[in-house]
């Protein structure tokens, strides 16, 4: 209020109401702040944007006036010339007459085209002329090609082609890999029939063909062994060599060997012992070795404490040689059957060979004829591939049965 004391000196002024007499629109101060902020932002944008974003080339405004004036002058000149294409003076005045004269000249030129004449009948012979010309040029072109053929080539060409086709067909047939021996189909019917007959004979036991007991049981093994032998024989590359002519003599050798065994068997049967000899033999040996000891004592005796006396049962020289011969025959037969390829002719110089060499050949043949059984005969016939005489075979078999 001290500041207001000076009003006491000025009574007229003091009577005036010191309240602000001025007013503002309603809500003016409410929006003043936001309007000032907007103006502040706009001012900042106005001051910053032009200098940063929009630039002009140097001296642009200094040259702008001259550029605008020169542009105006150029456009004025272009507008005066319209299209810019100039024509000679008086061109359009003489244009109509020039066009008419040009038309007249071209009509005259077209009329002269009618003055070209051709010889009479030219077009009638034109087709033929062209064709002959084409033929001549083709011939010339053909000669120019330099390709010649032998004389009469085309006459023989068809026959050559046909023969070539036949030949290639034959070659293609062979190429299929199915080849047959010559005359195969000629003999095929007879072979089939014979095969049928053989199989019928084998399958029909009722037909009167008898086979040894267990023949079919051993047949598979026999065939397999035969196949093995034949494979070995066929494969020279297998590395198993046999002496020359070995297989030719093999059948004879086997037969002679079998005969020897038969002889040996007969000789074995020739040694007879008294009836009941072997039944008594054991007791006899015990009596001689153990003596008169009681049977009960002998039973109770401890074997480890009492040694029995071993005596030789057969001490004769003949028995030794016969036994050795039997072992030799058995071992030799086994080796012969198991390893035929490794066999050589050395057996011919063995004891058996020497013994058998004294037997007359006629005796051996007669022996074989009377002792070979039907099964062996049938098998040998089949294996040798010889034709089977059923009637003779049946007769032989009946004879064998009778002998047995």
């Amino acid at each position: 209020m001290e500041n207001r004391e000076w009003l006491n000196d000025y009574p007229s002024l003091k009577q005036v109401n010191p309240v602000n007499p001025f007013t503002v629109p309603e809500g003016y101060f409410d929006s003043l702040g936001s309007r000032i902020v907007s103006l502040k932002n706009l001012d900042a944008l106005k001051n910053n944007t032009p200098a940063k974003d929009f630039t002009v080339p140097e001296n642009y405004f200094e040259e702008l006036t001259n550029n605008i004036q020169s542009r105006i002058a150029i456009e004025t000149t272009l507008n005066n010339e319209d299209t810019g294409f100039a024509v000679p003076e008086g061109y359009f005045e003489g244009l109509a007459s020039n066009i008419q004269s040009r038309i007249a000249v071209e009509e005259a030129l077209n009329t002269e085209d009618a003055g070209f004449a051709v010889p009479e009948g030219y077009f009638d012979g034109l087709a033929n002329n062209i064709q002959s010309r084409i033929a001549v040029e083709e011939a010339l072109n053909t000669q120019d090609a330099g390709f010649g053929v032998p004389e009469g080539y085309f006459d023989e060409l068809a026959a050559n082609i046909q023969s070539r086709i036949a030949l290639e067909e034959a070659l293609n047939t062979e190429d299929a890999g199915f080849a047959i021996p010559g005359g195969y189909f000629d003999e095929l019917t007879a072979n089939i029939q014979s095969r049928i007959a053989v199989e019928e004979a084998l399958n029909t036991e009722d037909a009167g063909f008898a086979i040894p007991d267990g023949y079919f049981d051993e047949l598979a093994a026999n065939i397999q062994s035969r196949l093995a032998i034949e494979e070995v024989l066929n494969t020279e590359d297998a590395g198993f060599a046999v002496p020359e002519g070995y297989f030719d003599e093999l059948a004879d050798n086997i037969q002679s060997r079998m005969m020897v065994e038969e002889v040996m068997a007969e000789q074995a049967e020739a040694f007879a012992v008294p009836e009941g000899y072997f039944e008594k033999l054991n007791q006899s040996i015990l009596d001689k070795t153990i003596g008169a000891q009681p049977a009960e004592k002998a039973v109770k005796a401890v074997p480890s404490k009492r040694r029995g006396i071993v005596r030789k049962m057969y001490a004769s020289t003949f028995f030794k040689y016969a036994t050795a011969a039997c072992f030799a025959v058995a071992i030799g037969t086994g080796i012969l059957l198991m390893q035929p390829a490794a066999q050589d002719n050395s057996h011919q110089h063995s004891f058996l060979h020497k013994e058998l060499s004294g037997v007359p050949i006629d005796d051996i043949k007669s022996y074989l004829e009377s002792n070979v059984d039907g099964g062996e005969t049938q098998q040998s016939v089949i294996n040798q591939g010889a034709p089977v005489n059923d009637a003779q075979l049946k007769k032989d078999l009946q004879n064998i049965d009778t002998l047995q």
Binding site: N3, P21, F22, T23, Y28
Partner: protein
């Protein structure tokens, strides 16, 4: 009611780039009415005062970063507003090619026609008396009579010594008193 926020807080926020807009909004809310009435009493017309207030705060925004705290913020803003008013009145004289007295008459007409004047006859007479005063006397009288500012504060706004301000004020009051007494 203007928001009474300490000037130091406003200045501190304005120094930070992130809170600068916030500081400016606080400044507006605190000083916009004071600046407006200071301008309005100088130029009388509301629209002119509105334009000048916006210009004043634009200048405050641009120059507040360089404000030195050796002066008070509101005296610094009053100084800017005063300069804007003087510049505006000088432009108006130059534009209409009229003298200062003619300006006073024109402002008197504006006051008479203004719809935003709610004073009585004495108040109107006072305003008419003020229009007859030189600008500096008018400024000193307004800041002393309406804003109750001290001579020291007015000295900061006008850049004039306190003694000179007192002399100007007394001259202004004598003229107003004479005007009031004369027209009565």
């Amino acid at each position: 009611m203007p928001i009474e926020i300490d000037d130091a807080v406003i200045l501190s926020k304005f120094q930070d780039e992130k809170t600068r807009n916030e500081a400016f909004n606080l400044l507006l809310k605190k000083y916009q009415q004071k600046i407006y009435w200071h301008v309005r009493r100088m130029v009388i017309d509301h629209d002119d005062a509105d334009d000048l207030v916006q210009d004043v705060f634009i200048k405050v925004w641009k120059n507040l970063a360089g404000f030195r705290s050796d002066a008070q913020l509101y005296t610094w803003m009053y100084r800017i507003a005063t300069n804007e008013c003087i510049t505006f009145l000088n432009k108006k004289k130059a534009k209409n090619n009229i003298s200062l007295d003619d300006v006073a008459y024109e402002l008197a007409d504006t006051l008479a026609d203004s719809t935003y004047f709610n004073g009585d006859a004495a108040q109107r007479k006072l305003q008419e008396a003020l229009l007859t005063l030189p600008e500096k006397q008018k400024l000193v009288f307004n800041m002393k009579y309406y804003d109750d500012m001290k001579y020291e504060e007015i000295s900061e706004v006008l850049g004039t010594s306190v003694g000179a301000l007192k002399a100007s004020f007394h001259l202004a009051v004598k003229k107003i008193e004479a005007h009031l007494l004369g027209h009565d």
